[in-house]
């Protein structure tokens, strides 16, 4: 590999380089800076700035940079750059949510933002992977950093349990994924996506490849928290510190979904009919578990956990279409989902009483009367996540359903519609508590960053409606 080749390759991974080098530089800064609290605050701010810079770099690269690097190990195109931009911005938002919380809960250490940056590097590598080895390394980088963040509050029994559970099941899923990858390598003779695509288009090798694919999709479904691989989700959501939950309910979910989409659409494009069966089963089970499980929760973080399982199901409905329209519908849906969930967690992080954080749904009683802005925000966000017409979440779902119907999956679309109505029920329950119950007490004023994100996200559920409408109309016009 000559210097020019290396430089051309490195040019395609500018955001990842910025993140990795930035994370290591900040780590050094933190290790040698005198005074723990000051270092934590400074590095948190610098990390947020770095993530925004990376998002800007990704936007700048869009349209200019396209191609593969490092002998086809990494791929960059507009689809991937879009996903990266959303990941960087969502992670920056999650760090903003974390900064005040960590200080008040005596968790402020400079390692938190550095680990978050490394996790984002992992996600970034994941979404641009074009080789099974890149895929695995990116996934592992992301998950390892997230396991540590989940157990970050090491003196809390619940957080340690969440971290351990997350780690054990994550290790199991990595094992499944690797086993599948080794089978695929055995049948295709290569780990690169292009070579696998060539092998998949031949008839003879399909059974072997499919066998490997089943294991790989199972491993990836763990990371997506799609049923029946969802068992860890509610416990980890509940046990981990709230900003950590906010972090991995957003960017990693999008990264994992984009990864699944790329694995299915690129190397295994020739086997769409085969993998569609797996995705349909995952989608239907996730929607059922998410919708029915969320009805019975009393803890708002667990509710968000079940809601995320359900929402992954809807995104998989779009993926099952197997068309370009389906791919874009998934990305659109996931973007709206990330915005909604980030806002909902900002509201949850505002639920602080004099005695500490509270996280029961009953603690929201009468929120509309005691804190009107927060009450309105949560109402809009819950409706948007639940898919109530006519907030943006509804258009996201409409797009996904349209993609499924376009591909002829009518019965899947109808099933999704039924579960979608059930999922509105749990949003309605939260909204009822907010508006019609007697106030149970007041919350402390939320930190400025948290308040900003909850208001902005809530406004976005309404303000983005015209954008969503235009996107949907364009998609329908292009496809018909």
């Amino acid at each position: 590999m000559t210097t020019e080749m290396l430089l051309t390759d490195l040019r395609l991974m500018i955001p990842e380089l910025m993140l990795a080098i930035g994370a290591m530089a900040l780590l050094m800064l933190g290790a040698f800076w005198k005074g723990e609290a000051g270092a934590a605050r400074l590095i948190m701010r610098l990390s947020i700035g770095l993530l925004i810079l990376c998002a800007a770099a990704a936007v700048w690269m869009a349209g200019k940079a396209e191609g593969t690097a490092f002998h086809g190990a990494l791929r960059v195109d507009d689809f991937i750059l879009y996903a990266k931009t959303v990941i960087y911005l969502a992670s920056a938002g999650a760090l903003v949510l974390a900064s005040k919380y960590l200080e008040t809960e005596r968790l402020a250490k400079f390692e938190y933002p550095v680990l978050a940056l490394l996790a984002v590097t992992g996600m970034s590598v994941m979404v641009s992977s074009n080789d099974l080895i890149t895929l695995y390394l990116g996934l592992e980088l992301q998950s390892l950093a997230l396991y540590i963040l989940a157990a970050f509050n090491r003196d809390s029994l619940r957080a340690s349990e969440a971290g351990l559970k997350f780690f054990m099941l994550g290790a199991l899923s990595s094992g499944l994924l690797l086993y599948g990858a080794s089978l695929i390598y055995g049948f295709a003779g290569a780990t690169g996506f292009d070579a696998i695509a060539a092998a998949a288009s031949e008839d003879g090798a399909k059974i072997g490849l499919l066998f490997g694919l089943v294991f790989m999709v199972s491993g990836l479904a763990f990371k997506l928290s799609a049923a029946p691989f969802h068992m860890w989700t509610p416990d980890v959501y509940e046990g981990a510190p709230t900003p950590v939950t906010a972090f991995y309910a957003t960017a990693p979910k999008l990264a994992a979904m984009v990864l699944v989409a790329r694995v299915l659409y690129e190397p295994f494009a020739a086997m769409t009919d085969e993998w569609r069966q797996i995705i349909v089963v995952l989608a239907v089970l996730s929607m059922a578990v998410g919708a029915l499980g969320a009805l019975m929760q009393s803890n708002i973080k667990r509710l968000m956990g079940y809601s995320s399982i359900g929402n992954m199901g809807y995104a998989l409905v779009g993926l099952a279409a197997g068309t370009a329209l389906g791919l874009w519908s998934v990305l659109f849906y996931m973007t709206l989902y990330v915005v909604g969930v980030l806002g909902a967690f900002a509201v949850i992080l505002s639920m602080r009483r004099a005695e500490g954080m509270v996280e029961q749904i009953d603690d929201l009683k009468g929120l509309a009367r005691t804190h009107p802005a927060l009450g309105w925000s949560m109402t809009a966000l819950m409706f948007s996540i639940g898919g109530m017409p006519f907030l943006v979440g509804f258009f996201g779902k409409l797009f996904v359903f349209y993609a499924a119907a376009e591909a002829g999956l009518w019965w899947l679309m109808l099933t999704a519609l039924v579960f979608s109505t059930v999922s509105i029920a749990y949003s309605l329950r939260v909204v009822k508590v907010i508006w019609f119950d007697e106030p149970a007490g007041v919350f402390e004023p939320a930190p400025a960053g948290v308040a900003l994100i909850s208001r902005t996200a809530a406004l976005a559920t309404v303000a983005l409606v015209p954008v969503a409408g235009v996107v949907l109309a364009t998609a329908i016009a292009v496809s018909s």
């Binding site: 590999m1 990795a20 290591m24 780590l27 690097a69 490092f70 002998h71 190990a73 990494l74 250490k109 390692e111 550095v114 680990l115 490394l118 590097t121 992992g122 590598v125 080895i133 890149t134 390394l137 990116g138 592992e140 980088l141 390892l144 950093a145 396991y147 540590i148 157990a151 970050f152 090491r154 049948f187 295709a188 003779g189 290569a190 780990t191 690169g192 070579a195 060539a198 092998a199 031949e202 003879g204 090798a205 059974i207 072997g208 066998f211």
Partner: protein, 202 residues
């Protein structure tokens, strides 16, 4: 003939000792069987022409990892019999799933068809004219440099995790400070006290 015989012997010993790792009642014995598994795998690597990997496996896994396991197992005094007590209840269902999976694997194995030209696509065939270490180096630091660096990042995260989750700064712990000890002068180490007669040191 001889390589084939060596393969079957090594493969059989690998499978049998791996089975013993899982079933052994005594954890120390399980770790020892794990070492046998590593040795068999190293032998298989030699048969494949990857001597360097075989040596690394022996040095790193047998020499460091397994011995570390042994220490941990001996120090923690875990009673595996009680840990496993509840697992018999899951045996029927788990066994059934395992059986189904094994049957499926066998079916796929029987229908094994490699893609045309799969052998040609092998990304790194065993080199003929150079030794293992040079061939591996040329691959890892050139073609696979990205993977190498990413693996380094993963290890960095693991190291940070170990520090973040376990390191505690305790107050009032006396630590050795070589610099201060060596630089101690007579003036700060020895105090000459003028004791007055009849009063003592009070």
């Amino acid at each position: 003939m001889l390589p084939a015989a060596a393969f079957y012997i090594l493969a059989a010993s690998a499978v049998i000792s791996a089975f013993m790792v899982v079933t052994a009642r005594n954890p120390v014995r399980a770790v020892l069987f794990l070492i046998v598994t590593f040795f068999s795998a190293a032998g298989l690597f030699v048969l494949l022409g990857a001597e360097f990997l075989a040596m690394i496996l022996v040095i790193v896994y047998v020499g460091a990892v397994a011995v570390l396991f042994l220490f941990v197992v001996m120090m923690l005094d875990i009673d595996f019999a009680t840990l496993k007590a509840g697992s018999t209840g899951y045996l029927p269902l788990g066994g059934l799933i395992a059986l189904v999976l094994a049957a499926q694997l066998a079916l796929v194995g029987l229908a094994w068809v490699s893609a045309d030209g799969a052998a040609l696509q092998f990304q790194a065939p065993t080199p003929e004219d150079t030794h293992n270490i040079a061939a591996l180096g040329a691959l890892i630091y050139d073609r696979y440099v990205l993977f190498f660096q990413l693996a380094g990042l993963v290890l960095l995260v693991a190291m940070m995790g170990a520090i973040v989750l376990t390191l505690r700064h305790r107050d009032g712990v006396k630590r050795q400070d070589m610099h201060r000890q060596v630089n101690r002068t007579r003036a700060e180490a020895v105090d000459v006290i003028d004791v007055k007669r009849g009063e003592g040191i009070g």
